[in-house]
Symmetry: C2
Subunit: 415 residues, 2 copies
């Protein structure tokens, strides 16, 4: 099936959405979870083919991301069941306005329609994204990277069987066959077919979407996250938070990439930082890339031109010394990707200044940037982390996969 044919099917399935209830959706999700487990063998066989093809071409870390096991499939099914158990975002009355003349105006949450997701090599994204899109009332079009495509196809087959068993249109979940750049481009310009496109992937994919997309699009994920250690910081707390934000999982978007330190305390703090992140870490010591001022205080790699604009996703931390919170804010707002930033301070005024002025989705006081996550924020789930300001900002849950419409009821009202 060509991408265009598939999009026509998605649009047809969308036509059925208006008669489907939240209960229908939950019933389908539970069946989809069951079918996923029942299809374990065929999914593992497909995954074995993906792994064979990928071995040697991608890193061990990426191979592990690609690997499925019976336990991981059971985990994916549990993920779907958990999404089913969340309250439906559909049909909420967001505003109610009754005019003096009796005209009743309500703003009601409704599905967006067709939500398309471009993602890369993690096969579990297939079921996660489909479950979230479906729970929020949408038809889901998936475009998986080529490394995981056989696995994704086997997963989607199970999910569609669940939809069918629930009496819903199978085409509410569709996987694009073409894994070349061509299909990504077709999605970006599928005006009238795609109501929302979510690119989940690297910088190249995101910026291609910004440049080329004519369909509505939400940028996700790129995180050059900063932590600013204020002159009034609790320095032990700062060390704990920095080690957590940098080292607990360096490959994720909410990991810290840049440390900004107030010059008043840099002489005292930076040697402690070096001890904590370099000398005390036998496994995975952090490479510090130091600006000129920091390099006068501790040893490390001199920071290059791009080190304050790079999402390292590795055990590397750029370090900059600034005069005060104002200079920290100016630096961060110039170099950040709008994801997550933190200030470590005991000074309430500095904290207030920082949280007001920093123009990012999530601004922390005395906590690790690693909390930027739908689950951690209490959304129950997550479709990605928006780094844009329109529609959704930060972790996107079910509500962010809805739009609203006004329904206005009159008795012959004219204006």
């Amino acid at each position: 099936m060509t991408t265009q044919e598939l999009l026509i099917k998605a649009k047809e399935a969308k036509g059925a959405l208006s008669t489907i209830t939240a209960e229908d959706i939950d019933r389908a999700l539970l069946l989809m979870a069951d079918l996923l487990v029942q299809h374990t063998d065929s999914i593992l066989s497909a995954n074995a083919l993906d792994l064979d093809a990928a071995r040697g071409t991608i890193s061990e870390v990426m191979l592990d991301r690609l690997l499925l096991t019976p336990e991981r499939i059971a985990g994916m099914a549990d993920g779907i069941r958990q999404v089913a158990s969340l309250p439906s975002p559909l049909g909420r009355v967001l505003k109610h306005h009754e005019r003096g003349d009796g005209l009743v105006i309500e703003r009601i949450s409704v599905a967006l329609g067709v939500v398309a997701i471009i993602y890369e090599s993690r096969p579990n994204v297939t079921s996660d994204a489909a479950a979230l899109a479906l729970k929020s009332g949408n038809v889901c079009v998936l475009r998986c990277g080529k490394e995981a495509h056989r696995s994704a196809a086997a997963i989607v087959e199970a999910l569609r069987e669940g939809l069918k068993k629930a009496g819903l249109p199978e085409d509410m979940v569709l996987l694009i066959e073409d894994t070349t750049r061509q299909s990504a481009n077709e999605l970006m310009t599928a005006d009238g077919y795609v109501d929302l496109l979510i690119p989940r992937g690297g910088k190249g994919l995101i910026s291609a979407c910004v440049r080329n997309a004519t369909v509505p699009c939400i940028q996700t994920g790129t995180g050059i996250c900063h932590i600013y250690v204020d002159s009034a910081a609790d320095q032990d707390m700062a060390l704990n938070i920095i080690e957590n934000a940098k080292c607990s999982r360096p490959s994720v978007c909410n990991a810290e990439e840049v440390l900004v330190v107030a010059e008043d305390i840099a002489g005292e703090f930076l040697p402690k930082l070096r001890k904590r992140l370099v000398d005390d870490r036998a496994e995975h010591p952090v490479e510090l890339r130091l600006d000129e001022k920091a390099a006068k205080i501790i040893d490390g790699t001199p920071a290059g031109e791009n080190d304050f604009d790079t999402e390292f996703l590795d055990y590397i931390l750029a370090v900059k010394v600034v005069k005060d919170v104002e200079e920290a804010i100016a630096h961060i707002n110039r170099h950040s990707t709008g994801h997550s930033e933190a200030i470590i301070t005991e000074n309430a005024e500095a904290a207030e200044k920082f949280t007001r002025a920093i123009d990012s989705s999530s601004v922390y006081v005395n906590a690790s940037t690693r909390f930027t996550d739908g689950g951690e924020f209490g959304l129950g789930c997550e479709m990605g982390i928006s780094t844009q300001k329109l529609h959704a900002r930060g972790p996107m849950g079910l509500e962010e996969l809805n739009t609203y419409k006004y329904i206005i009821k009159g008795k012959g009202h004219i204006r």
Copy 2:
């Protein structure tokens, strides 16, 4: 000043936003209103030059739109005062989540940053848009069409004097000097400078934005609005609503352009429609453009290929006969621009089906589409009517000119 220089000034002014309070903004708005009235003479002189230049090149209707009088300027000032009196959308706690471990996560409404508006020949949009953008905490970049540019410049001068008097940065309101397509294109691609672009204008401008914009953009205004007269309609009510929706102000986006009639009643209803919209209207009779079935019942112009996809903005109505509400829904969802549609029916089931299935910003039961308006909807004001689904749908008020950010407060929390 080049557009690029102006955008740098806008970005600098945005840096000051975080220290400005809602009270500062209201005080500035009231001063801006006063200054506008005080500058009446200079604004009228500038407007006279605009009118002289435009005469002969644009229609009488457009000339009237361009014309300012002391009363109209006073009205613009009152508009600003009214915006000042609305509650501030800033700093609302949209969500509050305290975790078991004491981490407090709040979602807070904040300004978008720099809001740019491209508009055409109505000088009053200058003060309206500036007041709304400012009230919602944003820096406002205005790009006015060439016909009204001298008037807009005189208005902006008054507004900036008000800002200065209030002690706020004058550059919170900026007017782009260049009125050629070049400046519109520069705005569309001003990544990092423009946080939201609102094109207010014709189809050409909107579709240029969809194609070319790399900055976040909200499509506004194009309205191919439908009214469906169901077989269970109160036909007198239908006639009243249709005449209102079509004729009360045909040049606006919420006017009806297409009538869809159930075939069961078409034989009875269409002759009444013709009498009401054509024969009984000595002034401005409506031209009916009839599909084949309608043409068998009443006289009119045979509908051409594009008549069901045209925003006439004139005393013209396309008429189509359909089998039932399902066919009406299918036709409307295929041809509508997602603005406003109505069903006229006494049948609750048909009404429910229609409101659920129609994929438009505003869906009416037994009321005129002409109500789609920020003021009529109780928003107190309006920046335009969004026909897209992301971020804002339907009339945009102050809240829609905000985004949110998460502010997370911990005591050394790590994940």
